[in-house]
């Protein structure tokens, strides 16, 4: 299991289209990916879960991956989140 912290910089946060795009992106990996926002945990493959995180611009998130490609997954997902524009 590996984890990495990343800060949301895009305006929308993990919400609306950025959230659904992220969920689609996460499905590329074999690992189980969890996103942690303070006390809340979300299965990153679940749009319902991700939306209920309520992660806004400026929030620090922890990405945790567990599985065969966990190292790559954490790096790429963290980068994907950091690079969100919308």
């Amino acid at each position: 299991m590996v984890s990495k912290k990343v800060t949301l910089t895009n305006k929308t946060g993990l919400h609306a289209r950025p959230a659904s795009n992220l969920v689609a992106f996460v499905k590329k990996f074999q690992s189980t990916v969890t996103i942690i926002n303070g006390e809340k945990k979300a299965n990153a493959a679940s749009i319902i879960n991700v939306l209920t995180l309520g992660a806004k611009q400026g929030t620090e998130l922890e990405i945790v991956a567990d599985g065969a490609d966990e190292a790559v997954a954490v790096e790429e997902i963290a980068k994907y989140i950091a690079d969100l524009k919308e």
Binding site: H15, S20, N43, S46, I47, I48, T52
Partner: protein, 566 residues
């Protein structure tokens, strides 16, 4: 044969067809707990229901991308894992597990103060319904099986219901609930499908496949008519269709009387679809854009940008004058996001322009949006509920401030934008001479004017009979306002229900009203009537009306006038 008289014809016309009673589906979960041995079966049932739902949605998603999003929700891993967990560890059956998960998620989304998530809550509910239908083995479209001319009968119909409806065979609607402003009423009017709403207990009067005549002109419903009645109504329906076609054939012709007096026929609108409909129905402009809908259908005060976009779209759709009334709330209209004090007399309280002048920032946001949109077409600003020259001047002073700000920032707007007022208070009638000097136009709001002049609360059923715009006081007030406006060369319009009243038409025309603003669907018949009236005769009639002492005398004069032509 059985005839039922009704009161609320929500959408006009005469139609007939087989009765189709919409069965309210019971989608409540079975609450029974399962045994250990049944766990596996319940999980399988759930997974199959999800699979079938995704398959349904895949078909729907070809035409509408909202269903692609629904597919994501249906196949969401959290939904799957949580439901399976409830089955395995809490021994809930699949229906109950699904219901609990959907309810909890919907509640969570709805409680977050976020418009986007509230919409997702509706998606969750819809998807939950679809899966539940598969679990219960019932069809998810309650309108399935309509394959001949049909009158749809329901307790009430929600937007999600009518979205499922194939309108090919739907000829009319009858609902037990709902008022003339309910969803089903508005939808029916927009689609020009006759509808009667608010018929309490109607569903117990009919069974499926009864033959129904829906007469929304005569406000009657006839169940299983005899052959003679049926033929009579087929003829009536035909005549109505012909009349409508005849009326609409005059679209594009000016509303000019036989002796050459031309008036303008405008539409009342509340949003952009209304604006499109106004164009389709031949409106020559918009006499009342109710901007309060922008505020009431929002979760916060609408931003300058949101308002600008809407006003600009309205004037670009019309390509004709659009009179936009500034925020008219208070009284019976409230906002979910602003706390109003409880008032003893809300209609005499803090409402309309009084609020705007107090909440200057809110007012300025609207005025700036209006000014910016005025760069794209003929937008005119109308202040509601004015009682004094001072109020009008104060409002225009704030408008001037906004103009200066825009000028400073080099944002374009129409510098000579017209500003006018609603005439709806007795004070504005008494001071109409003084007001006419200042304003660019008047628009008479007969609903409130009647209520204030007669001191009759228009929402109070007990005194509803006393609410009558043909009262001599109202007649004379309207006449005075038109005279005052014309004395100073100002246009006088009317945007209340009265403007489309067939009996009021010759009187208003005779008094010299310049612009009639009404629901778009009334324009065609008003145009037809204007083109068959004689202005000089109407002027004589109007003069007579103004010296009558009773409503009965007023009505007699009008009825005689109208019958004389026939």
């Amino acid at each position: 044969m059985k005839t039922i008289s009704v009161t609320k014809a929500a959408s006009k016309g005469i139609v007939m067809g087989k009765a189709f009673l919409v069965v309210q589906q019971n989608l409540e979960a079975d609450k029974k707990l399962i045994r250990d041995s049944e766990k596996e079966i319940e999980v399988k049932k759930f997974e199959k229901a999800v699979k079938d739902t995704v398959a349904d949605l895949q078909v729907l998603a070809k035409d509408n991308e909202i269903f692609a999003a629904h597919m994501d929700v249906a196949s969401d891993p959290d939904l799957h894992d949580s439901v399976v967990d409830k089955i395995n560890n809490e021994l809930k059956n699949a229906q109950l597990a699904l219901e609990e998960y959907i309810d909890a998620t919907v509640e969570m989304f709805e409680n977050l103060d976020d418009e986007y998530l509230r919409e997702r809550a509706a998606d969750m509910k819809d998807v939950g319904k679809r899966i539940m239908c598969h679990l219960k083995g019932i069809r998810s479209n309650p309108f399935e099986g309509i394959n001949e001319e049909t009158i749809v009968i329901a307790e009430d119909l929600a937007p999600s219901d009518t979205a499922n409806m194939d309108f090919k065979f739907v000829r009319g609607f009858i609902t037990e609930g709902g008022g003339v402003t309910s969803h089903v009423a508005i939808m029916a009017r927009n689609r020009e499908i006759p509808a009667i709403v608010g018929v309490a207990g109607f569903r117990s009067e009919v069974t499926n496949n009864d033959y129904i005549i829906l007469d929304a002109l005569g406000a009657k419903i006839i169940i299983n008519p005899d052959e003679r009645t049926k033929q009579e109504y087929i003829k009536k329906a035909e005549e109505y269709k012909e009349m409508k076609a005849k009326l609409e054939s005059m679209n594009g012709l000016p509303a000019t009387t036989v002796d050459g007096r031309t008036v303008e026929l405008f539409a009342n609108i509340g949003n952009i679809p209304d604006a499109e409909n106004a164009v389709a129905k031949g409106a020559e402009g918009v006499g009342l854009f109710r901007s309060e809908f922008l505020y009431m259908e929002n979760t916060k005060f609408p931003t300058e940008e949101e308002q600008f976009t809407t006003y600009k779209a309205a004037v670009e759709t019309l390509k004709k004058p659009v009179i936009i009334r500034t925020l008219d709330i208070g009284g019976d209209k409230e906002l979910s996001y602003y706390k109003f004090d409880v008032e003893e007399n809300p209609f005499l309280g803090w409402r309309a322009i009084r609020i705007s002048l107090d909440l200057k920032d809110v007012f300025k946001t609207q005025l700036r949006a209006l000014l910016r949109a005025s760069a794209y077409g003929d937008i005119r600003i109308m202040y509601p509920m004015i009682i004094s020259v001072e109020e009008f001047l104060a409002a225009n002073e704030i408008l001037e401030e906004c103009k200066q700000e825009l000028r400073r920032d080099s944002i374009p707007f129409n510098n000579s934008i017209q500003t006018g007022i609603m005439i709806e208070t007795p004070a504005s009638v008494m001071c109409s001479d003084d007001l006419a000097r200042e304003v660019d136009f008047f628009s008479i709001g007969t609903n409130d004017l009647t209520q204030y002049l007669l001191a009759v609360d228009r929402g109070n059923q007990k005194i509803a009979k006393m609410y009558n715009s043909f009262h001599p006081a109202v007649m004379r007030a309207i006449n005075k306002v038109i005279e005052s406006g014309h004395k100073y060369g100002k246009i006088v319009g009317m945007c209340g229900e009265f403007a489309s009243d067939e009996k009021a038409l010759p009187v208003l025309l005779g008094m010299g009203l310049d612009e009639f603003s009404m629901t778009a669907t009334e324009i065609a018949s008003t145009r037809y009537n204007v083109r068959n009236l004689n202005y000089k005769e109407c002027q004589k009639l109007a003069k007579e009306i103004c010296i009558q002492s009773t409503i009965a005398e007023v009505m007699d004069l009008i009825n005689n006038f109208m019958n004389k032509d026939k």
